[in-house]
Symmetry: C2
Subunit: 243 residues, 2 copies
């Protein structure tokens, strides 16, 4: 556990919430928490803000801080606490072995749109990497990624046949921690049906977007076509006003 004050408060409050230590579904007020943890109110507020953004609690000025009832028995929600953006890590728990089959790997001249999305110069080239992802023997996703040569000049077929994100972290100590994603669905194409073993009436879910390095460099544009039963995106949405 990180040794940050607010992180510790979060951890402790989560534990208490899960242990149902607040039958009224209401947390102690901020000043009381300040006293209890022997920290500044600023730190308490910080902790509570993070938890509010995660949807664990609701705050109401003048009234108090309340527990989101759904945070108990986290049944259908809160699967997307997020810890990694890569596919390899995201789908783990299933206790099935993820696999990668390389379908295509080449260097191409990016389209105008791709140039814009990855902020490339006219003479920059990109890798095109097309891979089939599987669990054991079951394919569940066709992934097409575009990575500028200049951000990863040393890419090889070997690297591309396993997790690129892991390689990045291992060798360059850089992490992909942010992405713009667009999520939608389409009827499956013939190719989808072949690769993902879909019937013609069954669709693909699509997650498409740009992945960034820590410093904001666009690292990859990726289109992921998923067997529809494997795409489920859970999210907590807060609207405007607040921050």
């Amino acid at each position: 556990m990180a040794d940050l004050v607010y992180q510790n408060i979060i951890a402790d409050l989560k534990k208490a919430i899960n242990a149902e230590s607040f039958p009224s579904m209401k947390l102690p007020d901020e000043r009381t928490l300040t006293e209890h943890y022997q920290v500044s109110r600023s730190s308490v507020k910080r902790a509570l803000n993070v938890m509010a953004n995660q949807g664990i609690i609701f705050k109401k000025r003048g009234s108090g801080t309340f527990i989101n009832p759904l945070y108990l028995k986290g049944g259908s929600f809160f699967n997307y606490n997020g810890s990694n953006l890569g596919v390899t890590d995201s789908f783990k728990a299933e206790n099935r072995t993820p696999g990668i089959k390389l379908l295509d790997f080449q260097v191409i001249k990016p389209s105008a749109e791709l140039q814009r999305d990855l902020f490339l110069q006219p003479d920059d080239f990109v890798y095109e990497i097309k891979r089939l992802r599987l669990f054991d023997e079951d394919p569940f996703m066709i992934e097409t990624g575009f990575i500028p040569i200049k951000v990863m000049p040393e890419l090889t077929e070997k690297i591309v046949s396993s997790s690129i994100f892991n390689y990045l972290e291992m060798t360059k100590n850089q992490e992909v921690t942010r992405a713009f994603l667009s999520i939608f669905a389409e009827p499956s194409t013939r190719d989808d049906q072949m690769q993902l073993k879909l019937k013609s009436t069954e669709p693909v879910g699509i997650m498409e977007g740009i992945f960034f390095l820590d410093d904001g460099t666009p690292f990859e544009f990726s289109t992921m076509r998923l067997h529809y039963q494997y795409m489920k995106y859970n999210t907590f949405v807060t609207v405007s006003g607040r921050e």
Copy 2:
């Protein structure tokens, strides 16, 4: 514009970024901004944190604060700045008139699952509201909502035939500002195909989840089956570590 210091900084920085006042794609350091705006560094940090969470900028300790290149000419992204959760408001810009056709409206005994999701007592009842949403004459979504009687005892067919969220805000000054959403896709059913004018090979996009009032009261469980061409969910994802 709200008269909050950090909001003003955000507004001003956004304006400057859009005016391309930072050709190096790098913002001034926090201490300089503090000096420039004649505010405390805390307020600068707050502003920058909010902007970082929105994906407008990237911060890197020891190095500086950088502009997300994609925030310029907000082309395909940043459509989801979020301002309202309701359907009526979300799809406006299209300059087509949104319509509602009430398909079903009744009071039922909630399933066990629904009881759990809306945190109901065993003897609570809920409205079931099934509506078809249209743009002009084109149906694009079948919406089935469940609202506990006790949170809205006065619901009528008339209210339900237009925006419930607007009604809530008008009459009770309560707002729906938060939701858990689960986003996925399925092959269309016969009923979907009839209502949404879909071919049998065309899917529906599904957005399903729970909407909350300001104080955390679960207000509605809703399942929205959308014509696949109308479902596009854009989002900026940040991962773990940071907060």
